[in-house]
Amino acid sequence: MTAVQSRGVARIRAAFDNARAEGRAAFIPFMTAGYPSATEFPALADDLLARADVLEVGLPYSDPLGDGPTIQRASEQALADGTSTRGTIELVRELRTRHDTPIVIMTYVNPIYAVGPREFMRLSQEAGVDGLILPDLPPDQDLEIADLAAEHGLAVTFLIAPTSTPERIKLVAEACTGFLYAVSVTGVTGAREGTALGEVPAMLELARQHTDVPIAVGFGVKDAQTAHEVALLADGVVVGSAFINAVHEGRDVPALAKKLADGCVR
């Protein structure tokens, strides 16, 4: 299967192209499915989708290796509230009835294996999921998952990090369809003090030698200022923990989404 045939790839590409045409980096908010509860999540997602170029929905998982405490706690809360793997896909299906914005699911591999890779892709395709972000799947671990995703019209995003060697960057960049995700720091997700982007430009430059898919940068983007700094370097800006913190603290999510989306203007 080639990327060209993939519905998700085309839709994600269009979203990035559209943002660029408007002088922005694509704004990609993240929210854990079923957080803070299964009933409150849809309205929260609506608020984010009002600003998003792409929405990243986290599939809550019991043992998230790449996430910091904020997203981990959100996952625990969502699971405790009964959010399941199939339930997460259903939530996307529901959002799809109201929104045309591309939606990607961030998931660790175990839920995919447990449901069965083919079944997982089939369900995702039917629900209108556009792509997958796989934080614990280096692309050379399992080629079947990417193939099955492509077969079902889904884009696949793998990650690179500041520790990635040039060979790894090449391998990952070439495996990505949809967009490539560059992790800004060595570390887990989470808003942190003084995000340093020192290593990002070199990483992006290397990646761009091997792929023409858009590159989004995430991990640690917490306010309009950091979003803007990232927007000047990358094609997209991912913001996760900052939104979960805002929900947790009862702050105004639409206002934060507006601020961060404005930060993505170049």
């Binding site: 175990n110 280096p138 790894r168 060595t186």
Partner: protein, 420 residues
């Protein structure tokens, strides 16, 4: 130099034991795993490294550990001779120190100043803290708060040794969550930190490297049994399995012998309150293939891939997965894995204590129990070797609590009785 590290035909170049194993981790760690793999390959044949490891295993750990014929236990069981491989004689009280010293030496060789570890029973944490103190490294140990409660003494030992013990409250607050936390720390501090992993789990090369470092157990057993019985290969080897490092340490040197020359290899899994109760940690008997902590293995998880909380009386076996090499052994019939319950382990512990004057770790007690079950079906000229992975000092407070409960229960007086 006398020490050599073994070379086994598994895993393949990609770190797979058949379909098991691999490296399902954030990309951030892949270069570090490549570096570790390269450094380990180099160290494995470097006389300077091997000499130092050999010296420490001998002078610091007290190796070789004994291979001891448990005569009264043998008589009690009535059948095959039961030998105990005495990893409980090791300094710090368990097999964990073999691997920790080796990994800490490797850390030092790689120029890392900071080591991190996860621990369940605390034995791996104590061993890591000990190795760090010995070699002058900073040490941070992650431990679930539930395990900190069960293993208070080991928490104190680690702190006394200068390690920082970080309580983990996420998930089930046990070993799996401590492991998540250690991996997250490693993702964050990968450039200057060495992760001393405590069992034959995790991403490649850990399952292979930890196995190689623990193989000293089986290698010693070979020549010791040769001296004592005139044959290197027993009929049966039994070892408890959490992640599976003590078991692989005694199995692997025998597992790749041709069929027919291989002893029966039996791993005892923690069946907790019973495999059918759902309150257990038996990943082969009660699990399905999945991915956790970077490797594909038999795993306790629900139909949508959420890890289900394991349960065992012993913190060291309270883990929802089992090392990928064991999964391959199980699939190919090289080894068998049998469930042993909490109550049976407690029985095994009391039996060995009263008959031989050896208080085993609750983990090891699972293997003891099964040996006593199996021996009567065998003949007196046959030999069972039980890997006594550790001593029970760490468990006595918990056992005291548990036995008080048992004794309070009506009609239970006779269960305490042991005849020899």
């Amino acid at each position: 130099m006398t020490l050599t590290l073994p070379s086994y035909p598994q895993p393949d170049e990609r770190g797979r034991f058949g379909r098991f194993g691999g490296r399902y981790v954030p990309e951030t760690l892949i270069p570090a795993l490549d570096n570790l793999d390269a450094a380990y390959r180099e160290a494995k044949t470097d006389p300077a490294f091997l000499n130092e490891l050999e010296r420490l295993l001998r002078e610091f750990v007290g190796r070789p550990s004994g291979l001891y014929l448990a005569e009264r236990l043998t008589r009690h069981a009535g059948g095959a001779k039961i030998y105990l491989k005495r990893e409980d004689q090791n300094y710090t009280g368990a097999h964990k120190i073999n691997n920790c010293l080796a990994q800490a030496l490797l850390a030092k060789r790689m120029g890392k100043r900071r080591v991190i570890a996860e621990t369940g029973a605390g034995q791996h944490g104590v061993a890591s803290a000990t190795a760090a103190a010995l070699l002058g490294l900073d040490c941070v140990v992650y431990m679930g708060v539930e395990d900190m409660r069960r293993q208070e003494l080991n928490v104190f030992r680690m702190r006394l040794l200068g390690a920082e013990v970080i309580p983990v409250t996420s998930g089930t607050s046990t070993l799996k969550d401590a492991t998540n936390e250690a991996i997250r720390d490693w993702v964050t501090n990968v450039r200057d930190t060495f992760y001393i992993l405590g069992s034959v789990v995790g991403p490649h090369p850990y399952p292979a490297m930890v196995r190689d470092f623990q193989s000293v157990i089986g290698e010693e057993t070979k020549w010791q049994l040769g001296e004592l019985e005139g044959r290197e290969v027993p009929d049966v080897i039994i070892a408890c399995v959490g992640g599976g490092s003590n078991a692989i340490g005694i199995f692997a040197p025998y597992a790749y012998l041709p069929e027919g020359q291989r002893p029966r290899l039996i791993g005892t899994e923690a069946a907790g309150e019973g495999v059918d109760t759902g309150r257990h940690a038996a990943s082969v008997a009660g699990g399905r293939i999945g991915v956790l902590h970077g490797a594909m293995m038999y795993l306790l998880h629900d139909h949508e891939g959420q890890i289900t909380p394991p349960h065992s009386i012993s913190a060291g076996l309270d883990y929802p997965g089992i090392g990928p090499e064991h999964c391959l052994y199980s699939e190919t019939g090289v080894a068998e894995y049998v469930p042993v319950t909490d109550a049976q382990a407690l029985e095994g512990l009391q039996l060995l204590t009263r008959l031989e004057g050896i208080i085993p770790a609750l983990e090891s007690a699972h293997a003891i129990y099964h040996a006593v079950q199996l021996a009567p079906s065998m003949s007196p000229d046959q030999i069972i070797v039980v890997n006594l992975s550790g001593r029970g000092d760490k468990d006595v407070a918990e056992v005291m609590r548990l036995l008080a409960k048992v004794e309070d229960a009506p009609g239970n007086a006779e269960r305490q009785e042991v005849r020899a």
